[in-house]
């Protein structure tokens, strides 16, 4: 792993949201590296800060109440946070594309699907509208929409959820990005349709050599698709590394819990294993390790209750933030 292979990396990224009850950190000290040509997945439950991380990378927090409090985001060696809005616009349009959670909401209801794709195409190459239209139709064919000529002329509400997501992918790919951020691309879709969408993404990724940052709450899906994995809990990354290794031997109790949840769900009808307790309230996180009230190891441990473990490298390319993880040096610098 050499430095120049890293396409995107964040360092100490902290995003704060100001609310009536004070500022809370939706993303706390998050650092990870996405390597060129790989699928990097962020897994976590709702409210763990996955989407906020993605929005922070795109610098799209302005429309929410969030602000990046500290940290750096490097993309192709440039600090995105140091760029002007104009330069950032150019990066968003050309280098980084994003697919949203709800395709129905992300498509303009009053424009035809084809013209929305064509508009993006005309942004990237000059030419008569007719040609852009034909390319848009071609784009729909690429994302495997049957009879693209017909569907290009229809409006978003006439498409099914899966087709809408395909259109979103078409729009994103039309930008010819080097990084594609897919924020829960299968949310709200049938399991089978979601699977075909992911397969499609995979094919397009390989064809166009696109690096993917996949954000999902579905660990099993993440493990199957991802080369690298980061598990987020309560605004922090608790475990990170190559997904196969994590799957084989999770080090953090939260990851272990997640994995056992999803495994029993498929095999046993009697009882679904669950992590006890509920997600931590972001406005009053527990002291110490944020997971300790729900943790089978740390709920009675003084250390876990008072001191928050940092994300540390246990072995090459294997990170975790747990006092009890094997290889975690409790007194490292």
């Amino acid at each position: 792993m050499t430095e120049n292979h890293i396409l995107l990396s964040t360092r100490n990224l902290t995003v704060g949201f100001s609310t009536d009850r004070g500022v809370f950190h939706a993303v706390d000290n998050v650092g990870f590296s996405v390597r060129q040509g790989r699928v990097f997945t962020i897994v976590g439950e709702s409210g763990s800060g996955k989407t906020t991380t993605a929005l922070a990378i795109m610098r799209l927090l302005a429309s929410t109440r969030g602000r990046i409090l500290s940290g750096q985001i490097f993309f192709e060696g440039r600090d995105l946070l140091a760029l002007t809005e104009k330069q950032m616009c150019r990066i968003r349009g050309n280098k980084i594309a994003m697919i949203f959670q709800e395709p129905a909401a992300a498509l303009n209801p009053i424009l035809t699907v084809g013209s929305q794709i064509a508009e993006v195409i005309t942004l990237h190459q000059a030419g008569p509208p007719k040609q852009a239209w034909l390319q848009a139709v071609e784009m729909l064919r690429t994302v495997e929409i049957p009879d693209p000529d017909k569907w290009a002329r229809s409006y978003p509400h006439q498409l099914s959820g899966g087709m809408q997501q395909r259109v979103m992918i078409a729009i994103a790919i039309s930008c010819r990005p080097s990084l594609l951020i897919a924020d829960e691309p299968t949310a709200g879709l049938d399991a089978t349709i979601g699977l075909t969408i992911l397969n499609l993404l995979d094919r397009l990724r390989q064809r166009d050599d696109i690096t993917v940052l996949l954000i999902t709450h579905d660990l099993r899906l993440a493990v199957r698709r991802a080369d690298d994995l980061a598990v987020m809990y309560a605004s922090r990354i608790v475990e990170m590394g190559e997904s196969r290794k994590i799957f084989a031997q999770p080090r953090h109790p939260y990851t272990q819990g997640l994995l056992s949840c999803s495994q029993t769900a498929g095999t046993s009808l009697r009882r679904i294993a669950a992590i006890p307790g509920t997600t931590a309230d972001p406005l009053c996180y527990p002291t110490g390790c944020k997971f300790h009230p729900r943790c089978r190891l740390g709920s009675n441990d003084r250390l876990c209750q008072t001191l928050e473990p940092e994300l540390r490298e246990l072995e090459p390319d294997r990170w975790a933030a747990c006092w009890h993880a094997s290889g975690y040096e409790k007194h490292a610098s």
């Binding site: 909401a105 209801p109 009053i110 239209w133 002329r153």
Partner: protein, 399 residues
């Protein structure tokens, strides 16, 4: 209806759906037809009510006094009407012939060509057509046998004709709606006044809607401090009592139609601005707007191609109500004597002549212009309501 079969291959746009929903109510269709009738009255006014005949034979030679006496404004209006009608026909044809993506470009090219034709035509007409004052009284010529074969318009009186012999006459065979204080035919004036009401309604609302959209779009999209300061400005403008301002301005400036339109237009944009602002505030946070911002679509396109069409419903409804309000304001001004001065006809001004200085009450001068104002305003309001229902079908059930 044919519209149902048109777009078999293509999706139906929100606009087309709204249009169909609007026309599905017979009341709306009727009001639209009535509006079309009023428009044709306004355009064809000089052909419907004029004291010059279309054709007349004097000393064996054919003359066309009506066409000779029309002023350049009338000809320009006719040209504009023809171009406008052809635009409507072309737009309907476009829906069948062009895919939605190409349609926008075709439409804007068409509108541009139409505007150029109207502007060039108007300039040409004004440059080439000499102003003629035709004071010949063709009716006495016909009566005295000097001329023959005269074809007069259905209402053979001009709006500015004065005839002191037939003052304040109630409706009769000669004057269907009676005559006013100076002996002018009420029906002729009524027909010509349609133009004034249309001009006031459309131009004033056009000005106010344009300003309102521009201000509202800016405030809503940029939000924050811009919005805060801008809204205070809007509130200041809103606090101005428009009617009294208009009266004051009319007292200082000439009482021309243009001035009245300008004043109404320049003061009544606040409602539109607030509506557009609130829609933009709401829409700019929607995912699809965020998505186009993210892709790097230029600001102009984001504002006017992606957001505005989604925000147009309340603007259109508001504009329709605005037209009726503008017509009403003009009528009220003219009624109070601050509006257009005779001989330019206006419904409000005719209304005010219903009660003479001598104290007698001329009912036909109150009833007919009053009815005209009432029906026009009512039509616009019904259309406005219909549009609102058509844009959001949910309201129909709750209302």
């Amino acid at each position: 209806m044919a519209a149902n079969t048109i777009n078999k291959n293509w999706g139906t746009s929100a606009g087309e759906l709204t249009w169909r929903r609007f026309l599905s109510s017979p009341l709306n269709a009727f009001c639209l037809a009535f509006l079309a009738f009023l428009v044709s009255l306004a355009v064809l006014a000089p052909f419907l009510a004029n004291d010059k005949p279309f054709v007349i034979t004097i000393a064996g030679r054919l003359h066309f006094p009506l066409f000779r006496a029309l002023d350049p404004g009338d000809y320009s209006l006719c040209l504009a009407a023809i171009v406008g009608l052809s635009q409507v026909v072309l737009i309907r044809r476009n829906i069948i012939r062009f895919a939605p993506f190409i349609r926008g470009g075709v439409l804007s090219r068409q509108l541009a060509v139409g505007c150029v034709i109207i502007i060039l035509g108007t300039i040409l007409i004004y440059a080439l057509l000499p102003f003629r004052l035709d004071t010949a009284d063709y009716k006495t010529m016909v009566a005295s046998g000097l001329a023959a074969g005269a074809i007069f318009p259905p209402v053979p009186y001009g709006y500015d004709r004065t005839d002191l012999k037939s003052r304040q006459q109630p409706p009769s065979r000669q004057h269907w709606f009676g005559t006013d204080d100076v002996g002018a035919d009420v029906l002729a004036r009524l027909i010509h006044a349609t133009r004034v009401s249309f001009a006031v309604g459309l131009v004033a609302v056009g000005i106010s809607t344009a300003i309102g959209i521009a201000v509202g779009a800016g405030l809503g999209y940029f939000a924050g401090k811009v919005d805060f300061l801008g809204m205070r400005l809007v509130e200041i403008v809103m606090a101005i009592p428009v009617f009294f301002l208009v009266i004051m301005v009319v007292a200082f400036f000439p009482k021309t139609l243009l001035n009245i339109m300008l004043i109404i237009g320049l003061t009544s944009w606040t409602g539109t601005a607030r509506l557009v602002r609130s829609e933009f505030l709401k829409l700019r946070r929607r995912d699809f707007v965020q998505a186009v911002i993210l892709i790097g679509i230029p600001l102009r396109s984001i504002l006017f191609r992606h957001i505005l069409p989604n925000a147009i419903a309340p603007v259109l409804v508001n504009a329709t109500f605005g037209i009726s309000a503008a017509i009403f304001t003009e009528a009220a001004l003219s009624f109070l004597g601050f509006g257009l001065a005779p001989p330019v006809p206006s419904w409000g001004q005719m209304l005010s002549q219903g009660v003479t200085t001598a104290g007698s009450f001329l009912w036909w001068l109150t009833l007919f212009p009053g009815l005209a104002i009432f029906l026009t305003v009512l039509t616009y309001n019904v259309i406005g309501e219909g549009l609102r229902d058509a844009f959001d079908p949910r309201w129909r059930n709750t209302a």
